[in-house]
């Protein structure tokens, strides 16, 4: 009876093939501004909170928009996740950008009139496209 054995080189062939076809890949994550806390944002109450309360809770805004005598402040935290695979002549790249964002609207006296929030920064994903 004869036993067929693969030479070491043949056993490594699939791995070598995979390495030659997939010469590179990368993952990166970047973010702008500190995270925003839903708990802190929920403490901002229209008709009760003031500009001083908002700065105490969230700090300095990223943007102030003048609306006549009124203002709106924007707070934003952004997460970008990027992943890519480089085949021999083809690169596949996926970029996902999501953000936590809070807009606080004030009257002319600096009292909060409205607040809008969304918290989606944690939903950013690494996703290499497959077509």
């Amino acid at each position: 009876m004869t036993t067929l054995t693969l030479s070491p080189l043949r056993r490594l062939a699939p791995l070598l093939l995979a390495v030659s076809v997939l010469p590179g890949c990368f993952f990166s994550r970047s973010q702008t501004n500190p995270e925003l806390s839903p708990e802190l944002a929920s403490q901002i109450i229209p008709a009760q909170s003031t500009a001083a309360d908002v700065t105490e809770l969230l700090g300095a805004p990223n943007e102030v928009v003048q609306l006549g005598l009124r203002t709106a402040w924007r707070y934003e935290h952004t997460v970008e996740k990027q992943s890519a695979a480089f085949l021999v002549f083809l690169g596949l790249r996926g970029v996902d950008t999501q953000s936590d964002r809070v807009w606080v609207f004030f009257d002319s006296e600096g009292n909060v009139t409205n607040i809008g929030t969304q918290f989606q920064a944690s939903e950013a994903e690494y996703d290499v496209p497959i077509f």
């Binding site: 229209p46 928009v65 003048q66 609306l67 006549g68 005598l69 709106a72 924007r74 002549f89 083809l90 690169g91 596949l92 790249r93 996926g94 970029v95 996902d96 950008t97 999501q98 953000s99 964002r101 809070v102 807009w103 609207f105 002319s108 009139t113 409205n114 607040i115 809008g116 929030t117 969304q118 989606q120 939903e123 996703d127 496209p129 077509f131």
Partner: protein, 147 residues
């Protein structure tokens, strides 16, 4: 023609020249609910309902006595193919890209009392590029400024 020879014949043009491609998938933010936008009533809905239903906008812009609030998102895939070749001392390069540069979204227009006056869908670059109305000067003087 033997199989290795056929493969070599097919690969030869690739070795003599170089063709590379990129396939990109981009997602920026997330779309707002169609139903929530449809539920907003022009002339009746206010800022509170818009923020409650659509979340925080991407942009807030002063527009005359009122304001425009924009929500935007993008989900796109695009190709970028580059080919180059050298023949003697002449080198040529050809590139094709079909990147989607537009940013679709929804813009809500409010009057000075935060009543919804209009809602529009489209590309934000077009919706927000309309001529800016003159800034409102309210009675009662300018806001107090720190000394």
């Amino acid at each position: 023609m033997s199989k290795p020879l056929k493969c070599s014949a097919l690969l030869a043009p690739l070795l003599a020249s170089c063709v590379t491609g990129d396939y990109n998938q981009t997602r920026v933010y997330q779309p707002v609910s169609e139903e929530a936008v449809a539920a907003l009533e022009v002339g009746r809905s206010g800022l509170e309902q818009a923020l409650e239903d659509l979340g925080a906008p991407l942009q807030v812009i002063e527009l005359g006595a009122g304001a425009a609030l924009a929500w935007g998102w993008k989900e796109a895939t695009d190709w970028n193919v580059t080919g180059s070749a050298s023949i003697g001392s002449v080198r040529g390069r050809l590139q094709f890209a079909n990147a989607a540069l537009e940013f679709p979204g929804v813009v809500l227009f409010f009057d000075g009392d935060w009543v919804l006056m209009a809602k529009e869908r489209g590309f934000l670059s077009e919706l927000l590029l309309r001529p800016q109305l003159p800034r409102l000067v309210e009675d009662g003087g300018a806001p107090e400024t720190g000394a």
